[in-house]
């Protein structure tokens, strides 16, 4: 067995594997070094040659960011905004997906393609008029303003429609003959059968909302309403970057995505690959 394995390994294979693991190291190193740096004392961070592990485990960076009156606020704002965006847009996507997947009505395809077409329009291109609108309704520095552009997702509607089309029509028809209303069918048949696609969509939309940067940058001008992504960039000024605090902040910012990744790895990878292929 081991001999066969040995024979199969050519020089070409070895070169490939060396490059492969070099890329694995490049992938992991920034994350590893971020964690290490967040536990180093300021003196050790500025020490040359660079140390690859903290010689003394220092919690000061974490205690500094958690005693910063604003950092917790940024974190909370990120959580609130991302959760609202995820919940509202997943509900909207599920409802619209159901309507597009299981009903026939006039102008259906016009509505659907109008929604689909907006996927390819970059958000950055219409951000100025959108900002003016949100400002005119008093959305600057509010949670409403922060979440408003993301509470509907054209990708989400498309994704849920594709998935709900897989549910057999016969199930829906049978329930209708039994006299079940549309809301009842939605609650008792469609939703339970869409569990996995709903969770994939929730995770994707949450991660997207969490990493949003440009919109929070323009809509929040007071420190109270900054999100974490913005807050992290404020830990630097012209002459000095406190890398210890900054890396501790980055580590905290990565927690939600990492937890999701550990538990739903397969869903996330397949979901993101599929969203790229189909969306």
């Amino acid at each position: 067995m081991s001999k066969a394995l040995y024979r199969r390994l050519t020089v070409f294979d070895i070169v490939c594997l060396v490059i492969f693991f070099a890329l694995v190291i490049i992938t992991l190193f920034p994350l590893f070094f971020m964690l290490i740096t967040s536990f180093k004392t300021p003196e050790e961070i500025n020490q040359v040659p660079i140390t690859l592990y903290p010689h003394e485990v220092y919690m000061g960076n974490y205690s500094k960011i958690f005693h910063d009156e604003y950092f917790l606020r940024y974190f909370l704002n990120s959580v609130i905004a991302s959760v609202i965006i995820t919940v509202v847009s997943v509900i909207g996507s599920a409802l619209a997906g159901y309507v597009f997947a299981k009903f026939k009505f006039p102008l259906k395809s016009v509505f659907f393609y109008a929604i689909l077409a907006t996927i390819m329009v970059p958000f950055e291109s219409f951000i100025v008029p959108l900002y003016n609108f949100v400002r005119s309704v008093g959305g600057v520095n509010t949670y409403f303003g922060l979440v408003f552009p993301s509470i509907i997702s054209s990708f989400g509607i498309f994704f849920m429609k594709q998935n709900m089309e897989q549910i057999p029509d016969a199930l829906v028809e049978a329930a209708k003959i039994d006299g079940a209303g549309n809301w009842h069918i939605l609650r008792t048949i469609i939703m339970p059968l869409s569990g996995s696609s709903l969770s994939v969509l929730s995770i994707l939309l949450f991660i997207t909302a969490w990493s949003d940067y440009l919109w929070p940058l323009v809509i929040a001008t007071s420190k109270d309403m900054f999100v974490l992504e913005i807050g992290l960039t404020l830990l630097q000024d012209e002459y000095f970057i406190d890398y210890g605090q900054m890396m501790a902040g980055c580590a905290v910012a990565l927690i939600p995505a990492m937890i999701l990744f550990i538990f739903f790895r397969r869903y996330i990878m397949e979901g993101i690959a599929m969203s790229g292929i189909k969306g």
Binding site: L17, F20, L23, V24, T27, L28, P30, L31, F33, M34, I45, N46, V48, P49, I50, G92, L95, A96, V99, F103, F105, F111, T118, M120, V121, P122, E124, S125, F126, I127, V128, L130, Y131, F133, I152, S154, G181, W210, Y213, L214, E229, L232, T233, Q236, D237, E238, Y243, M246, M247, C250, A253, L254, A257, R265, I268, M269, I272, A273, G276, I277
Partner: protein
Amino acid sequence: MAQRTKLLKMNKQEKVDFGFCMVILIPIMLLFAIIRFIPIIETFVVSFFQKSMIRPGQKFNGIENYIYVLTDPEFLKALQNTFLITVFAMTLSVLGGLFLASVVNSGRRGMKFWQAILFIPVIVSLVPSTLMWKMLFDYNIGVVNQILNVFGVASINWINNGNLVVVPIIVVSVWKEMGYNMMIFYVGLKAISRELYESAALDGVNHWQRLRYITLPQLKPVTLFICVMAMIKFVKVFTQAITMTSGSQSSGNIFKTLVYYIYQQGFSLHSMGRASAAAMILLLIVFVLTAIQMRLDKED
């Protein structure tokens, strides 16, 4: 009689269904109108007007905004910067993704695990990613310079050099994109029929021939698709560039990209007309790329 009641019943059900659809769709279409359709149309219209956020009133001035933008050295510089990032980040992340996918697909033990590891950067948000690389490229305490020193190369001031800062920006873009491309290539590789390889193995072809005559031609549609997707993503590059170069409060050091130009015109200089004209140019670029992609999809 029986037929009539059936018809009435059907009509009623249809009415109920129609009502149900409208109850859901009307609010959603209304939101789409406010959040997407109207702002998109407004961008198009405003791009032909002289309009400012500070002063009320507007004046039609034809294509003057476009002329201003297209002859503005700042815009051309932004376009050039965006192009530079797009070309390098796309090429490297596509090649890297293809390579990783083919090794992962070789079916060696433990590859599923490494694939998951390689995917991590995709879910790490862009600001922390950029800050991590910013530290690695730091002039004094950066690992990159330390490695260069080992090889006898003097430290390089990556971040504060207006020309060199493109290197860390490209690196972080590739770092984040490579795992994603790997995943799509992996799906593409899985789709190539085993029989092709088996019959090739019977003919005794070597690695290079297999790659050259089977894998690459079979992957051509996927590769083109990924390239276009990556281009669409990188034309909109903003966060990496601004995070890598911000900190100095003067905007002089910011590595300006197309989206940064829109942001600056719209939100710092309050010139909505010019911001909209630049936005329309971005939209046009993305549309052309999307059209190419749709065409490729059809050919496929």
